[in-house]
């Protein structure tokens, strides 16, 4: 069955002309259409354009040409701008917004020959951990449709897990790539801050947002990231440092690699069966020759409160642009300019986005700025320093991606803090700008479990190599939900 092949295999088959891009696109489009009433992973399906692009890719492949991902079907999280295609960011505010240009990530993957099949559902403005805040309805977890797929990149994760796509783009501000990867049993990588261009990526929290990949394996993720990453003069926070070939030396031995197990991640909130799976994964690394030892990062437990000051503050500032004037939702018959602003924003944003805008407005307002915003930025430095110290002693850090496996729809919507605590193990990597992955490492009560790997700045290659080496020893990443197998 063609949909079960890895992106790496499909790419080789395309190159060898064993399969055409048109065949692949038709196969995956049929799977997308069939899954849509159940999973709701897509906001837009761009079938016509995809078939035209696939034909063009096939012509290039026939001529022996084409890019590194020529003819490979992919999808984009609906916060990457795609020229001429609606980019909704999961919000009513942008429900009719048609991007005038391509995000750099989109342009680069297009230039590499990848064929976009559609735009993937997500939490509204990437604010959420369950994909329940989307204006276009929740996405469901392909392992059990009563459960959430995680968020905010829930559509991207569900689509790859159900093999509706071999890979998809995603973004991670506090865990939005890794948490859904863990919940859906797939591989996800959030690169170092500044590694992937944010140009054309709709902003949520500018000092935390980073684009990355969700795929079926570390090797597939490396193949896509290699095309996405790199300096972009259009993003002032893009870092001008060369992109190594993430595929070169994949599978190199882990002999002597020093792995630190983050003590603070094995707290009372961690599900015992989830913990057993993570410990079993650590034992595999040990067997492969890595030196595994416990390390302490004492300020990590403060990550969530720091995040819920910094992220809402940046969000309230970024989302001030939605004023009903230049683009986005506008209310009917505004009485005056104030009424235009207020009603357009109140009608256009959902409850979680409003909560975050208001939290951010509060912590930035006169009299509270020092107590909350500056204080959070100081603690952010303490967390970052903890990592720096740890990376003086070890090469990689490991722990669970989430405290539990996927939860039921509606289980955590009543209290925002309960939802926020779901990102307790993922947020710290964003605060420190570090690259981090989630890799499937087994099942707890029948649901996928994620092993998190965090590395020093720009150590994507080391993360991908470790994950790939682990995936040569295990087959958790090859498991597909029965209904989609």
């Amino acid at each position: 069955m063609i949909h079960r092949e890895t992106l790496t295999q499909l790419s080789a088959d395309l190159r060898a002309r064993k399969v055409s891009s048109v065949e692949l696109v038709r196969t995956f489009l049929a799977r997308i259409e069939a899954s849509q009433p159940t999973l709701n992973a897509f906001v837009s399906i761009t079938a016509e354009q995809a078939l035209a692009d696939a034909e063009a890719a096939d012509r290039r492949l026939a001529g022996g040409g084409g890019g590194a991902l020529e003819g490979v079907p992919i999808g984009h999280k609906d916060l990457f701008c795609t020229a001429g295609v609606r980019t909704s960011c999961g919000s009513r505010m942008l429900a009719n917004f048609v991007s005038p240009y391509d995000a750099t990530v989109v342009a680069r993957l297009k230039a590499a020959g990848a064929v976009m099949l559609g735009k993937l559902n997500m939490d509204e403005f990437a604010m959420g951990s369950s994909n329940e805040t989307s204006h276009f309805g929740p996405v469901r977890n392909p392992w059990n449709t009563a459960l959430v797929p995680g968020g905010s990149s829930g559509g991207s994760a569900a689509a790859v897990a159900a093999r509706l796509l071999p890979a998809a783009t995603a973004t991670d501000t506090g865990g939005s790539i890794r948490q859904p990867a863990a919940f859906c049993g797939i591989t996800g990588i959030k690169p170092t801050y500044g590694r992937v261009s944010r140009y054309g990526m709709i902003a949520f929290a500018s000092s935390l947002d980073q684009g990355g990949v969700l795929a079926a394996s570390a090797e597939d993720a490396a193949r896509v990231l290699r095309e996405m990453a790199g300096f972009d003069p259009r993003d002032s926070t893009s870092v001008d440092t060369p992109v190594p070939d993430y595929l070169a030396g994949l599978g190199a031995p882990l002999q002597g690699v020093r792995i630190g197990v983050m003590k603070e991640f094995f707290d009372t909130g961690l599900d015992p069966e989830y913990e057993r799976r993570v410990r079993e994964a650590l034992a595999v690394f040990e067997r492969l020759g890595a030196r595994v030892r416990e390390v302490s990062l004492p300020n990590l437990p403060l990550s969530v409160p720091v995040y819920y000051v910094v992220a809402p503050a940046e969000c309230s500032s970024n989302l001030a642009r939605y004023d009903g004037v230049r683009f986005g939702h506008r209310c009917r018959d505004p009485r005056d300019l104030q009424d235009l602003y207020k009603r357009s924003r109140s009608e256009g944003f959902g409850a979680e986005v409003k909560r975050r805008i208001m939290t951010g407005t509060y912590v930035l307002s006169a009299g509270y700025y020092d107590a909350y915003y500056l204080k959070a930025q100081r603690v952010r430095r303490l967390i970052s320093a903890d990592f720096e110290r740890a990376f003086g002693e070890v090469d990689l850090l490991m722990g669970p991606t989430t405290p539990t496996a996927a939860f039921a729809l509606g289980a955590k919507t009543a209290d925002p803090i309960t939802m926020y605590l779901n990102d307790i193990y993922t947020i710290s990597a964003n605060l420190a700008g570090l690259p981090a992955m989630s890799v499937p490492c087994g099942f707890a009560a029948g649901l996928p479990v994620g092993l998190q790997i965090i590395g020093p700045h720009f150590a994507e290659q080391a993360l991908l190599h470790a994950a790939h080496r682990y995936q040569l020893e295990t087959d958790w990443h090859q498991r597909i939900p029965e209904q989609y197998a």
Binding site: P233, V309, R381
Partner: protein, 96 residues
Amino acid sequence: MALTREQVENIAHLARLELEAGEIPQFQQNLSRIVDFIGELERADTAGVAPMAHPLPGLAQRLRPDAVTERDEHELYQKNAPQVAAGLYLVPKVIE
């Protein structure tokens, strides 16, 4: 710390949001919970620690050459505007 109804209304106004009367108690409850939660930071000892605004240490914001790089594409961009006339964005009358 419990936020009062007036505080919530004031925050909403600063954020240019209009809450319906029926929604306010819910926001009041949620925001009070969030403010309590982030209040935990108070306990952290940050004496002598400088605030960190950029996640990559030691990197300064890059400057670009002061040169014209963008073309005038207002027609393309204004396709997404709710109301335009003669290349201008229309809003309700501001000056009587």
